[in-house]
Symmetry: C2
Subunit: 406 residues, 2 copies
């Protein structure tokens, strides 16, 4: 069994980097704080005897040799970056649970047959640089390296520049490695496990996603002497899409999720009719056909709203991935571990995207969920109890060892 106290201490230690007043973290991808969290992770892994490599998109691999190092490694991990007002567990938990597995095997002096590796993927959140999971997507061959390195934040800085700046543009091969399997432990980020009083979610699927960027351009004009009838108000257009996105989500209840999370208004002055608004849409559904229906509704609504108000539209779907089915063998490894340990559990479809979704394209993959309090994530108050963290890590240990020794 793993050392729950040590795992908790590591989580709380990492949470000091970028700690926010309300108890969360702000550690946006490839900032100085992200570099600090990477440095700490690397130091801990080296202290645990691992060898570190970093690839060209900044993914960090900490390798613990097996008895037979010609065998492909079993990977486990997640990400260290956070949302602007993120929590202490989202991502970090999966990385540090992987480290705790290594530390436990060290304590036990246990050498797996295949080597194992703990991975921290770059920019999983998709908050500073869109889309999410871009570096695991590059690793898995879904995106070109050039695409990954050229992702821009809202200030125009690229991932490539920022990786170089913080010293995490590595030279490890990014493609073509032979892999044994990938396991990712994560908080659920939703309310189901806690509501049903289950300790472990055996994740069988992940819902699909579509992300959009929309810019409406109308005409800036004076809020006082410009009659309502002459206005081309870009914010009125955006407001109608926010309402429509919410309605589309409700129309495909209970599984659909539909969100406008980001909006920038130009020139953003109290007495100027907004001339330009940039905003994003995030659609999710476990059924790809429904996701396509939601897409069609959005396109129709955007066209109609823009026509009604007289707006020019730039509309782009910037990200799409179809619902993911995890590997039956890996799911069974998790289910077996949970059964041995006797934890209450249920099968789950992940509502969030995870690096595991891209890894699933190149190696047998599955995930382990633990509950989080009130189902709240992407919020500074995100919380997971120590016993949940310990349980998920025990499942990870058994699933990984089972695969590595298979």
């Amino acid at each position: 069994a793993i050392n729950g106290g040590r795992l908790w201490d590591s989580l709380m230690g990492m949470a000091k980097i970028g700690a926010t007043p309300k108890g969360g973290v702000c550690r946006l991808a490839l900032t100085d704080l992200d570099k600090q969290s990477r440095d700490l992770f690397v130091a801990w892994c080296e202290a645990a005897g691992c060898t570190i490599t970093v690839d060209a998109i900044g993914n960090i691999f900490a390798r613990r040799p097996g008895r037979n190092n010609a065998l492909p490694p079993i990977l486990m991990g997640s990400h260290l970056d956070s949302q602007p007002t993120g929590g202490k567990f989202d991502g970090v938990y999966g990385v540090l649970a992987g480290l705790e597995v290594v530390r436990t095997l060290n304590d036990l002096n246990y050498q797996t047959e295949a080597p194992i590796e703990v991975v921290a993927w770059t920019n999983e959140e998709g908050s500073r640089f869109a889309p999410a999971m871009v570096a695991s997507g590059v690793f898995a061959g879904t995106f070109d390296l050039e695409y990954g390195l050229s992702r821009k934040d809202l200030d125009g800085k690229t991932m490539g520049e920022e990786l170089a700046r913080i010293g995490y543009a590595g030279d490890a091969p990014i493609r073509g490695r032979d892999l044994g399997a990938y396991f990712e432990a994560h908080i659920e980020q939703g309310p189901i496990l806690e509501a049903e009083d289950k300790t472990i979610g055996v994740v069988t699927d992940c819902q699909g996603q579509r992300w959009y960027e929309i810019t409406f351009t109308g005409q800036e004009a004076h809020a006082g002497p410009t009659p309502m009838s002459r206005r081309r108000d870009a914010l009125l257009g955006a407001a109608r899409i926010v309402e429509a996105v919410n309605r589309i989500g409700l129309e495909h209840a209970p599984y659909a999720c539909a969100t406008v999370g980001l909006m920038q208004i130009h020139p953003n002055s109290r007495n100027v009719i907004p001339g330009r608004v940039f905003f994003t849409v995030d659609f999710r559904h476990p059924d790809d056909a429904v996701l396509a229906e939601m897409d069609a509704k959005l396109r129709n609504t955007v066209t109609r709203v823009a026509e009604d108000i007289g707006l020019e539209t730039a509309f782009e779907q910037i990200w799409y991935y179809a619902p993911v089915k995890f590997d039956a063998g890996c799911v069974e490894a998790v289910r077996g571990a949970v059964a041995e340990l006797g934890y209450s559990n249920r099968d789950m479809v992940s509502g969030a995207g995870h690096d595991a979704c891209y890894l699933a394209r190149v190696t047998p993959t599955s995930m382990i969920f633990i509950p989080c309090v009130d189902g709240i994530s992407h919020n500074e108050i995100e919380h997971a109890h120590p016993e949940w963290c310990e349980a998920g890590c025990n499942v990870l240990l058994r699933a990984v060892v089972a695969k590595a020794d298979a």
Copy 2:
């Protein structure tokens, strides 16, 4: 008659300070660029023989003595600050038309009976610091000096700090001066004069305004695993108010104006349900009773929307002034000048707020409007033809001299 070429050259010279790529200006109140425009105005006034004084809220007065300097001065002016994407005429035109009146009187070696003063009021736009016209409001005794100096921009900098920083916190008395009259020349900023092919607007009234600040607080949560039914989306609330504000404007057509110009979303991340949104509302109507009806509708809607979504609300009306009636004598002075000059004209109600609205509380006041192309203002493409600028300045000259010599 004034020198239209010289006036135009001054307008174009001033427009170089803060010039934007699309032909407008960005010269927000109390920035380094605002300081540059003040310095240039002061230099021009001194070259025209005027004496400069600056009061504690940064209003600049350039005085040309009369034959009898015991008489209260006739003021004319407007403002030099602009919107973030403002034009070359809004405000600047009234200040430089005043300067052109002084230069013309110098050319003619004509001394008015009463002294005359050209004024540049601080922060008329209300874009960087809300509300608008705050410094003429302090001058007129509507606001305390402390209120004016403590206005904050979105970064938390105060007008007092910024005045001191750019060296325009003066020591001229801010209250209690005896004034003869105030005239303000301005572009219409709306479509009426151009549409009716009239050169001059004789401004008899100014519509009333109410400005609001609203913050909705819901709960940040993950856009993926958070079911629609569990959301408290602050942006959905704000979007409903944008739609309601537009509807309230339309319900009181054709005179009402209703605008949401500024909105800030928190944390503003694509895959986070917005937890907090701050936004503003700008209501205008020439009839105070209608403005009060609009106010009541807004309050009801905000309460209902917040209840429906489960949002906390902070709601504040931060600015209000009732419709203004300008002084009959000053309006007659303008009407007389227009008649002598033979310009096509019509009476008008100002849709925008102007420093004249506050000056009207302490001295006989009226305004002179000239058209602007397509009625567009608060936009980089704002334009007024040289012949319009010249005509308005000729009216200003005659009205001011008539009052100063009366």
